[in-house]
């Protein structure tokens, strides 16, 4: 008992040291990216790497706004991401709940079919999806751009896993009280998996935010591209201004990072209040 007040604190120092060492490894490429975004193109390409730029080139960031309709593309990214995340949360929680906790004919086959979507190279979908969107007359439209991304097999799997982990008693009790399955889902089960929904929100946001090939192929006007595709247009085939590309990618990453910082608190808080003890 004598060591108790001291023990945890000393332990925590060890914990901090371990975590800091790991964090340095995780951070380093990111920090270097920041430094390179403030360097000249020659410094970035220099044979002996420059860790610190000779003179901070803030102009690289201004150049991003000169070369790209940055705010316009940012708005497109935000819009399609919000719609997709909301749709994915709605569709994936519903389907995930059914796959986890309901009984119906063909459930196993259907679940396997949904999972199989994750198992083929994603480029397989490019031409067929393009032709479906074309057939619907949506080429070049915002709807066409976001449509296939409304449905997520990964999200369904994630939500199924979350619902599987919940104890059965709550559900049984609500059913005995006469609630219909949707009411059970909505009032009892859904609130319990809020942390997992936050994880889904983070992953689907990132996926939508960074998606490259589909928006590049399906948009017909550069100005209507989301940011991920817009950024890619900065990478020329012959000569690339690397610092500007890096600056642009940092600017594009910032909103997602802020969202994560905000959400990760909610993951924790959500867990604390979810009654999962």
């Amino acid at each position: 008992m004598l060591t108790r007040p001291v023990g945890p604190r000393r332990n925590n120092i060890v914990v901090h040291l371990a975590l800091i060492a790991g964090a340095l490894v995780m951070m380093f490429p990111f920090v270097w990216q920041i430094l390179m975004s403030l360097s000249t193109n020659a410094e970035v390409q220099s044979v002996t790497p420059h860790l610190w730029p000779h003179e901070l080139q803030w102009g690289n960031y201004a150049e991003v706004f000169r070369q790209l309709p940055f705010l316009h593309q940012l708005r497109t990214s935000a819009l399609i991401t919000v719609i997709r995340v909301l749709a994915q949360i709605a569709f994936c929680t519903l389907a995930g709940y059914a796959f986890a906790r309901m009984h119906f004919r063909g459930k196993g086959v259907m679940l396997a079919a949904v999972l199989s979507i994750l198992m083929v190279p994603s480029q397989v979908y490019l031409l067929p999806q393009y032709q479906i969107v074309q057939d619907l007359g949506l080429l070049g439209s915002l709807t066409g751009l976001l449509l296939p991304g409304l449905f997520s097999a990964f999200g369904t799997f994630l939500m199924r896993t979350a619902f599987l982990a919940l104890p059965a008693e709550l559900e049984e009790a609500a059913r005995l009280d006469g609630a219909n399955p949707f009411q059970v889902f909505w009032h009892v089960m859904l609130p319990l998996i809020r942390p997992s929904i936050s994880v889904l929100a983070i992953t689907s946001t990132l996926w939508s935010w960074n998606e490259l090939l589909w928006p590049l192929v399906v948009t017909t006007n550069s100005d209507d591209m989301p940011l991920s595709a817009g950024l890619a247009t900065l990478i020329n085939d012959r000569t690339v201004n690397y610092p500007v590309v890096l600056a642009a990618s940092l600017l594009a990453t910032a909103p997602v990072l802020i969202l994560f910082i905000a959400l990760q608190r909610r993951v924790i808080d959500g867990l604390a209040t979810s009654g999962l003890k």
Partner: protein
């Protein structure tokens, strides 16, 4: 919901069928499109059209918009929507569009991919505009107009051009106390100069020359200079003794120490060595000029023609603006295509500075953009230039080159063995296509 699902199912099923039918019909569509395009007449100034235009280089959009603005002074009701797709994804997108008959009205095309699209009837010939006198193929480097013709039908003319030269960092020569070679230099002089510099400056990690992995800037040139061929009459040219010499040029350079080792060049590319001031001579395209601006070595640059082998040669390439065969606004698209190929637009493009325009007499701005660097070399090279080697399925044998040739460059296998292997595998691919 079920209803909705099945309706969509039918919809997409029918669609899949539609695609097969239309593309089957396109197989023999090339000649039809040719006959149709021959009726081109210059439209009235009040013609109305919405054109789509696809390209891959963001840095040229500004110049293109200037071009379009002057074009619209005459045709105010032709609107143009520009779509930029980076080169890495450009041809994936173009292929998706071509497979769905949704190609943009006008789009950029390069040599390696041209025959695939032209041969499958995806591109409208410019026979009509040429007959109407709005495009004059005689105004462009001949090597490039042949690049964009197939079976004696002309599909486009180049909008820009690039040739290959040796970029020289004079500071490295001074530091190594090696004399700058003259413009009429030979392979031997190049090799001995590279070796001398590397020897003198090895303690600084500076090299005289560098091999590369890119045919266009390195080994295609030496193959042509030794009198060899990359591809001729639908067969690989790699089996010939001349082509072997063209490859040996690079393996010798690396073996002599005149260049960084093969592995070093993969980690740090030749242009990086050069821009960092660690390389005396870099074989590079005219496009490399823009990569030099703002670097420390910008002021000590000069350019030499490629050193002469059995003959003098350089690879020439250029991008063309082409019109889609199934464009709904073909007349307007050809009109814009012709305008962009003309003297006025080409002059504007040259002044914007990112590329060398292809139209005869509009190139001076490029030569003057680095007055002390003798950029005229790249323009003079047109006289002895050879078009970038291409075929109907260029990519298929390009991958063989990059897969097999490294063993020759690194010295892992004898050059003759590698080129013989490459020739036979390449012939197999060409026979299949």
């Amino acid at each position: 919901m079920n209803n909705n699902l099945s309706r969509r199912g039918i919809l997409t099923g029918a669609l899949g069928l539609g695609v097969m039918i239309t593309t089957a019909a396109c197989g023999g569509g090339g000649s039809d499109a040719g006959a149709e395009a021959a009726d081109y007449t210059e439209p009235a100034a009040d013609i109305t059209a919405d054109l789509t235009f696809s390209l891959w280089d963001q840095t040229q959009v500004e110049a293109l918009q200037q071009n379009i603005a002057s074009f619209q002074e005459k045709y105010p009701n032709i609107k143009v929507t520009i779509s930029v797709t980076p080169f890495a994804q450009y041809f994936t997108k173009l292929q998706t569009q071509a497979s769905s008959d949704t190609l943009p009205d006008l789009f950029w095309m390069n040599g390696p991919n041209f025959q695939l699209y032209a041969g499958n009837g995806k591109i409208a010939p410019i026979t009509g505009p040429i007959e109407a006198g709005v495009i004059d193929p005689g105004k462009y480097p001949e090597a490039l107009t042949t690049l964009y013709s197939l079976d004696d039908v002309q599909y486009g003319v180049p909008k820009d051009m690039d040739t290959i030269g040796v970029w020289v960092n004079k500071a490295v020569f001074e530091k190594a106390k090696v004399d700058l070679p003259g413009e009429d230099w030979t392979w031997q002089e190049f090799q001995s100069t590279a070796e001398a510099i590397s020897k003198a400056l090895s303690k600084d990690g500076i090299y005289g020359g560098a091999g590369g992995m890119d045919g266009q800037t390195t080994y295609y040139n030496t193959i042509f200079e030794s009198g060899g061929e990359v591809i001729a009459d639908g067969k690989s040219g790699y089996a010939s003794a001349q082509s072997q010499q063209g490859i040996s040029f690079w393996s010798d350079l690396i073996a002599s120490g005149g260049s960084p080792s093969y592995a070093q060049l993969l980690d740090t590319t030749a242009d990086q060595w050069f821009v960092s001031g660690k390389l005396g001579m870099y074989w590079g395209g005219s496009w490399f000029r823009s990569a030099l601006s703002g670097t420390d070595i910008e002021d000590s640059i000069t350019v030499l023609p490629l050193p002469r082998g059995a003959r003098q040669a350089t690879v020439i390439h250029g991008v063309a603006n082409l019109v889609a065969a199934n464009s709904r606004n073909k007349q307007a698209a050809h009109t814009l295509q012709a305008y962009l190929s003309g003297a006025q637009a080409q002059q504007q493009l040259g002044e914007a500075g990112s590329v060398i325009p292809a139209y005869d007499g509009t190139q001076r701005t490029f030569a003057e953009s680095m007055p002390d660097a003798n950029l005229q070399v790249f323009l003079d090279a047109v006289d002895y230039a050879v078009p970038l080697p291409v075929s109907a399925d260029t990519a298929a044998w390009n991958t063989l080159e990059t897969q097999l040739l490294p063993d020759a460059f690194s010295g892992a296998k004898p050059v003759a063995e590698v080129t013989a292997d490459l020739a036979s595998q390449m012939d197999a691919v060409l026979a299949k296509g």
